[in-house]
């Protein structure tokens, strides 16, 4: 085996240019596949990160009416839906998939939040408990968060995110500034940032709406102030943080079940639903994968053509080395030895092509990424499979030439010299 490998590498090295040109088909095929797979992987990862927030594992369980989030801006609180009791929250926190949970109210803002003569367009105001920030994976960048006492004592303070600082507060030092929210004045005590990086990819109109809102920023006020600035007895929503990304779906569904067990709305189209972002991510991933799988088939054709090229060159090589084969058979090499020598050479040739293809594919994927902004994630299992597959191509397409070499009559073979 080692002897065959040595002979194979020597053969390839002796005919460097020819070997490279033979490998080119395999290199192009593998490079195309790796580039496509890397792009698919990258896109999938990006979708997942964008929709579920990288590592935060948070799930929103909100009131929905006919599969649309219930907007309470202009409507009354729905009948038969009580506020979320602490005992219910405790039940949610006791779920094995849930790390933490916090209730909140929110409004999508079209008007009604002001700083001096600037108004906020888009974004959210959320009435939150102190533990909301840790559940939502938000950390203090500047200033501080609410204390339990401040919430208990209806303090008119608020925390904003960076978008609010950049837009509504015009990048002024936010601490101590006064915002008018729902007709009341709130003093900014802190700025929070999300621990996860967020670069949205817009795939649907719904995504666009969501991200437009998110990018416009959020103002957080104590949940105790919500009845003052907005409405009494408004049912809250719940944010849960799952133990892991894989637990998100279960955590969301179980929380929704618990919450739905506490309500008896007259309008039965209203119920708690989890924004199952993981499922949405998977659907989008499936979509991008199926589109790109067609490209993989096209790349596979290139590999087939590459394989035929290898077979062609191996046949030429057998013809060129007829005398060598004749001699080897004359001095006692069995058919199988000759067969393995040529099969090894074909397999080494295509495997090398595979390795070069993987390297070129990675390079190509990076170039595509830089040029088009498409994210790229190198899939090492795919790279390994690609090299193994090219080796198989070498063995399959090397079969005919090797068989031909092994079956040469030594007398005829020696006579060709």
């Amino acid at each position: 085996m080692f002897e065959n490998l040595r002979l194979a590498f020597r053969g390839i090295w002796t005919h460097k240019l020819r070997s490279f040109l033979t490998m080119l088909g395999i290199i192009i095929g593998i490079a195309a596949i790796i580039a496509i797979v890397s792009t698919i992987e990258g896109t999938n990862q990006r979708i997942k990160e964008n929709l579920i927030g990288s590592g935060s594992n948070t799930v929103d369980i909100q009131l929905y009416q006919n599969d649309w989030p219930l907007d309470l801006t202009y409507s009354e609180s729905p009948y038969g839906i009580p506020q979320v009791q602490d005992s219910v929250l405790d039940d949610i926190r006791a779920l094995s998939e849930v790390k933490s949970a916090s209730k909140y109210n929110y409004r999508q803002i079209y008007d009604g939040v002001y700083y001096q003569n600037h108004s906020m367009s888009g974004g959210y105001v959320k009435g939150v408990e102190p533990d909301y920030f840790s559940t939502a994976n938000l950390t203090v960048k500047n200033g501080r968060l609410f204390t339990v006492d401040e919430v208990k004592n209806f303090k008119k303070i608020c925390v904003v995110d960076e978008s609010i600082v950049a837009t509504l507060l015009q990048n002024e030092d936010p601490i101590g500034k006064v915002l008018e929210i729902g007709g009341d004045s709130y003093v900014v005590v802190g700025v929070v940032i999300s621990r996860s990086t967020f670069e949205p990819t817009i795939n649907t109109m719904e995504d666009y709406e969501t991200y437009k809102q998110d990018e416009s920023g959020t103002v957080y006020i104590p949940i105790s102030d919500w009845p003052i600035s907005y409405r009494y007895d408004e049912p809250e929503n719940v944010l849960v943080r799952a133990n892991s990304t894989d637990d998100m779906t279960a955590a969301g569904k179980k929380t929704a079940d618990i919450l739905n067990g506490t309500i008896s709305p007259t309008d039965t189209s209203i119920k708690y639903q989890s924004k199952d972002l993981l499922e949405q991510a998977q659907q989008l991933q499936q979509l991008s994968s199926s589109t790109n799988s067609m490209l993989i088939w096209i790349a596979a054709i290139s590999l087939l053509v590459g394989g035929i090229g290898v077979m062609n060159i191996m046949l030429v090589s057998v013809t060129e080395r007829t005398a060598e084969i004749g001699l080897k058979k004359a001095i006692g090499a069995r058919k199988s030895k000759i067969m393995w020598q040529f099969l090894t050479e074909a397999a080494v040739l295509t495997s090398l092509g595979g390795v070069l293809g993987v390297a070129s594919g990675i390079g190509l994927a990076q170039i595509i990424s830089i040029m088009s902004g498409t994210p790229v994630a190198i899939s090492w299992p795919a790279a390994f499979i690609a090299v193994a597959f090219s080796m198989v191509i070498g063995i399959v397409f090397g079969m005919l030439p090797s068989h031909q070499a092994a079956n040469l009559n030594p007398i005829d073979a020696l006579r060709t010299n």
Binding site: R10, A323, E324, L327, A330, I331, G332, R334, I411
Partner: protein, 234 residues
Amino acid sequence: MIVKLENINKVYGESGTETSVPALNNVSLTVNEGEYVAIMGPSGSGKSTLMNVIGCLDKPTSGSYFFQDKDVLKLKDKQMSDLRLHSIGFVFQSFYLMNEENAIENVALPLSYAGVPKREREKRAIEALTRVGLADRVKFRPDQLSGGQKQRVAIARAIVNNPKVLLADEPTGALDQKSGAAIMELFQKLNDEGTTIIMITHDSGIASHAKKTYRIVDGCLFHGLEEGSDEKDN
């Protein structure tokens, strides 16, 4: 007795048809251990066919062939390969050396087919090269050697497995007179050391180095170098 051919006939093409070409005609030959035999004949006389049959590269159309009491005609392809590997050493007119490999690697080739470990292969290859007088050229590639030296490497390759018979087909055909003479001296030395040699040549001068000579004419084998000097050998 190592080689025993009895009434060997070899016909190319379908026997009995117009296109059939008889190459060997009722040839019988016995070679004993330690003998140095030359078979001489002009081109087309059937000497290469005879060598192929003796070397187990080809099977005759009829007759019987025993190599060390083994019925060669009954051997399968794999067994023929093994017989060539372990019992027969080939020396060809055009050396058939692999240009990318050095002398040691060329000589060690049959040992690799015999499954000899690498270190042992190298050791034995160097020993064989030393026997043919190339101890100082073991790392040279064929293109760095003269014609005579290349043939020595080929001879070293033929003897590295300690074969029962060394078969040489026109071993000096591609060499100048001086190198040819040196190769003949080497053959003599190997024969003196006990190697059985069967040499095919068209050159009577070269054939005269052997202790026993045959002539082949139109596929028929005769004793002796001169026409009419001996009876047909059957």
